[in-house]
């Protein structure tokens, strides 16, 4: 049976329908999961989409992480379920403590809206399984707080454990070690600033995002 992907909607999310549309075009099921829900309804994978959850008040993701659905997401992640946070979703995952580090304001206080190149740094994550490391993908970025930061010990851990998932070829925001995406120790929770769901049709300038979402849909869902 085709996997079902739950796409979480916070007040202020604005990329949820892009994710749903792309997941369906790739042959899987997709449904919206409201932030007040305490259950994920038995989905096989979860995406936290981009946007401005709770208006990004206080800090991006700072309020969203207290949503009832996040307890369900944390349980799902602890059981090994695939969870991907895109852009604002990445910020929510770091605030929730499901991924290490934090995303601070871009270097130079510059909002970045561009299509950029990233390099797949590892194939050992639910988003990059089967994608050869070194593969370059052209993906849009669209953020103000995308400057990935962590302490030196965390960075050493991420490197030693091969948990840096994507790196920018030409760093647009000042992220430490050119990090565009990381995963947790279990490799089933991934956060990334670029938007693969906006790069799944040549009409949109790139279809490179498909390999990542295909990998997610093919991820082992027998957790």
């Amino acid at each position: 049976m085709a996997p079902r992907v739950g796409v979480v909607v916070f007040p202020g999310s604005n990329c949820e329908h892009d994710v749903v549309q792309v997941v369906r075009s790739l042959g899987a099921g997709a449904e919206l999961v409201w932030h007040h829900q305490g259950s994920l309804g038995g989905v096989d994978a979860v995406v936290l989409p981009g946007g401005f959850a709770h208006g990004d008040y206080l800090r991006p993701g700072a309020i969203a992480r207290f949503a009832p659905v996040m307890e369900a997401v944390a349980r799902f992640a602890a059981e090994g379920g695939p969870v991907v946070g895109i852009c604002n979703g990445f910020q929510v995952l770091t605030e929730a403590g499901l991924l290490p580090g934090a995303l601070q304001k871009n270097r130079g206080l510059r909002f970045v809206c561009a299509t950029i190149d990233v390099e797949v740094a590892t194939d050992r994550s639910v988003l990059t399984a089967g994608v050869t490391p070194g593969t370059r993908l052209r993906l849009p970025v669209n953020h103000f707080e995308g400057n990935y930061t962590c302490d030196a010990r965390t960075l050493a851990e991420l490197r030693d454990e091969d948990r840096i998932v994507l790196r920018y070829v030409d760093n647009p925001n000042g992220s430490v070690d050119d990090i565009a995406g990381v995963c947790n120790a279990g490799r089933n929770v991934v956060g990334l600033m670029p938007h693969p769901e906006r790069a799944c049709d040549p009409l949109l300038g790139s279809a490179d995002g498909k390999v990542l979402l295909d990998a997610l849909l093919g991820a082992d869902v027998t957790h």
Binding site: A102, Q104, K105, N106, G108, T149, G174
Partner: protein, 103 residues
């Protein structure tokens, strides 16, 4: 029946040393336009003011520190200080007392 008192908390949140503060740097760069050449080391931060119902001052501080550490600041990027004053009622009483003295 509750014996709780009301305290006032001020939480100040600043970026940790070493974390780039582009807002602070940008504000500092604007100062020469104002004719101010003497200001250095300007840092932008956030301040939060709220009331806490608590048994005593120590409990109010503990509660405000929890709020600061778990919600108002992200410990990866930021550090915080908490200042708790009160109880408000005692201050009101003192203030009322002094006003009474003016009659």
């Amino acid at each position: 029946m509750s014996d709780l008192s009301t305290f006032t908390a001020l939480v100040e949140v600043q970026l940790r040393p070493g974390i780039t503060d582009p807002a602070g740097a940008t504000i500092e760069r604007a100062l020469p336009a104002l004719g101010v050449q003497t200001v250095r080391g300007l840092h932008a931060g956030k301040a939060f003011r709220f009331e806490v119902e608590a048994d005593d001052h120590a409990s109010a501080v503990a509660e405000a520190e929890l709020v600061a550490d778990r919600l108002l600041a992200n410990p990866v990027l930021e550090e915080w200080t908490v200042t708790v004053t009160g109880p408000v009622d005692e201050e009101r009483a003192r203030s009322a007392g002094s006003m009474g003295g003016m009659d």
